[in-house]
Symmetry: C2
Subunit: 200 residues, 2 copies
């Protein structure tokens, strides 16, 4: 198999001009948000900065919320610069803490907000969970002991409470919220768990 010329194959006219326009528009959104903030960002502004006409943007993204949501998704890159040591009771809590720090920050929250503004209520809001699975899987794979749970269980136990409380709670999150959840989760699934224990 020789190399594929076009890197994308989604739309009918993927390469060339369309791509350039998309990149220019995305770059303009990033630049303008960084410069003036998300508030008051308008399509004509973005169009001017990107060097395209507003109608181009309206036809492709329909409105500013969708566009910003699109950009936010592209830029969600919570890479996991984590070197698993092989012990789940260390690795999972460490990752959880890092993840919380990323998400519960000004840019993290802004990303979630922007992405959610473009959500239609039916299809998923964004590949946020997809972005997280590889990190969790990597940690599980690195475990020296057998793992008796799957990635989805980790999402339910540590990611879900974090996101839910970020979005639907007023008070600032306890800084160890995700870490604690991860610790409890690992404890619960360790082979020599004592059972019942205390709540939470």
């Amino acid at each position: 198999m020789s190399e594929i010329r076009s890197p994308l194959r989604s739309g009918p006219r993927p390469g060339g001009r369309s791509l350039r326009v998309q990149e220019a528009v995305h770059a303009a959104v990033v630049a303008l948000i960084e410069e003036f903030g998300r508030e008051g960002l308008t399509v004509p502004q973005v169009a001017a900065r990107a060097g395209v006409t507003p109608s181009t943007i309206y036809r492709r993204w329909s409105d500013i919320a969708t566009l910003v949501s699109d950009v936010a998704q592209r830029n969600l890159r919570i890479d996991c610069p984590l070197k698993p040591c092989g012990r789940l009771s260390d690795d999972l809590p460490a990752w959880a803490e890092m993840y919380q720090d990323e998400m519960d920050s000004t840019p993290g929250r802004a990303m979630v907000r922007d992405v959610l503004r473009g959500w239609d209520g039916m299809q998923k809001a964004c590949p946020l969970l997809d972005a997280v699975r590889p990190s969790i899987a990597m940690i599980c794979d690195a475990s020296s002991e057998p793992v008796n749970f799957d990635v989805e269980a980790v999402i339910d136990a540590v990611v879900a409470p974090l996101l839910t409380r970020m979005i639907f709670t007023d008070a600032p999150l306890a800084s160890t919220l995700a870490r604690d959840a991860a610790v409890a989760f690992v404890e619960r699934h360790s082979p020599n768990a004592s059972g019942s224990g205390r709540g939470q």
Copy 2:
């Protein structure tokens, strides 16, 4: 202490005209959404139906997303028509199933979407969790056995995974998702739990 005359005390001019305007506007939003759907709903439309001028709406709510979000919050009334029998292993899963049915329905999802559109990323998106706590507390109170967990733990274990997967997942939810989570949760906290077991 004698009775307070004004039922509201938030704004500087709470009763009378302001209140009438707010009610008319809210009613107009509800009616128009029911009639034509959320798509394409505009401030001028709402204003016309409510019998007020657009500028009134703009000054009070700033934009249609905020207004719709506001309305959605007022109408979130997931009442719990549930008669606890006193056994957590029955009551909690039953409630969880009912809750999922409410939330993962067309109107439920629309409500969450609308509410989230108005979220600013910092303060909580809506009192969704507050609305849920009383139901859980009622079930716990009705339990004939001692309860060794708190309401927040239930939110983390059953509500959070449900909401997170509704929002950040593509595939339709398993209809027993919340129920299963509740069953596992109760099991985990039952006095005679066997411990480790298999994950999820």
